[in-house]
Symmetry: C2
């Protein structure tokens, strides 16, 4: 009930909001060789959506995206990029919002600001899966990580937004060397290769991949991984952002 | 005076507009080995800006961008891509608009919709310079093509928007093979190389460039260019969009 009060206050206070604009976030994580996307489920419904939110009147859109992601994941300094803005003429969330509000006992008048046409600015985020501590919002009951190949039907154009984010991630993987944001601090070469193979959705030749990665001179070899076994232990690597910046500068 | 009437009617009719959102277009053309950008000057002022406009309430943002570009350049089927949305908290065009309107004798009340905060969706367009027929809008007096290295100070964040568009063009040049949109239908290999060198702002080795371009198998060799001279005439090429699509599919 406390949450509902907070929501009502928020909805009544439309003047504090930069109206007609929302933020939607495609949060990617990598776990057990799967590329995952964070999806929320609204309370008392089977409606699912990307995490998102509104922009305050005195807040820039990039700041709003950072705030929303921090609130949801508990993480600061998230790798975050704007990738596309979605603004079809009929992009109103009225039907969805009326239903999700009704499901928690709130009735909205027809001319309420939240029921109008919304343009959504899409951001994708890359997080270290192991560090995320999820927090639910006032409307949503639960969060799940879904394999990118098994994302369920989402509200509005959120499935389309998710596909667009994946396209951008694939393109930027080499161009900006951003994949490392999805890994823990130290990783083996085969973990790195599995990440690339999963994102690109294709097999890569082991020797070629290793040669290419080492030739970039952006990895620091740390130590051998202790496996306890008799066979050869793999090296551990750490991504060096300074060297990566220098590499991208040279390109 | 007729134009002013049209403008007044437009400004009074805020309900027809999807408010808080505008479109800004970075229109690139290639001429005499220079990459050029189209810039407009507002009537009776020295204020310059990118061509842009508003979105109608029943119009998608991509459709609005197409419409605005058609109105300005006279071209249909323009190569057009959304690249970034600009939404700083203090991004209000009030000061600029008050001045440009005053310059043509229109006073706006403080709470007029056009004076509020605006989020701008940025698009870049690639046009065949030789085919453009420029049309001025109701606010702007004149258009000029500026070399990308000599763009004058523009209103608001329009210089920043221009730089972002150039960054995206450079990135997409290879990834989407879009450079051909800047050339006439037939061109020589050295014209194509000059285009790439200008966009990337660096010299390329002639033999390497030619080998790489031909290896993509996206060019159709048409005929020798008649130069009238005794020396060897260069081949003319035509870009084959079907083969390019097949190439990008394979990649």
């Amino acid at each position: 009930m406390q949450a509902n009060e907070a929501l009502k206050n928020f909805l009544d206070n439309g003047d504090a909001i930069f109206q007609n604009v929302s933020i939607d976030c495609v949060i990617f994580g990598f776990h057990q060789n799967q590329l995952k996307v964070l999806v929320l489920t609204f309370k008392n419904t089977d409606k699912r959506s990307l995490p998102g939110g509104f922009v305050f009147r005195d807040e820039g859109i990039n700041d709003a995206a950072q705030r929303i992601l921090q609130e949801r994941t508990g993480l600061h300094d998230i790798y975050l990029e704007q990738f596309c803005t979605f603004g079809q003429a009929d992009r109103a969330i009225s039907k969805v919002h009326r239903d999700t509000m009704q499901a928690i006992g709130i009735e909205l008048p027809d001319d309420h600001w939240v029921l109008g046409r919304f343009l959504s600015v899409g951001y994708y985020a890359l997080v270290d899966f192991s560090k995320v501590v999820l927090t639910t919002g006032i409307l949503d009951e639960d969060y799940h990580w879904y394999d990118i190949h098994r994302v369920p039907p989402l509200i509005l154009d959120h499935n389309h937004i998710t596909r667009k984010a994946l396209e951008t991630l694939r393109l930027m993987l080499d161009y900006k060397l951003i994949g490392f944001n999805l890994l823990p601090e130290m990783f083996t070469m085969s973990e790195l290769q599995a990440l690339y193979e999963t994102i690109l959705d294709k097999k890569l030749l082991r020797a070629n991949f290793q040669r290419k990665m080492l030739s970039l001179e952006i990895l620091e070899r740390v130590d051998k991984k202790w496996t306890g076994g008799a066979h050869k232990a793999p090296y551990l690597y750490r991504f060096d952002p300074r060297r990566a910046a220098a590499f991208l500068e040279r390109e």
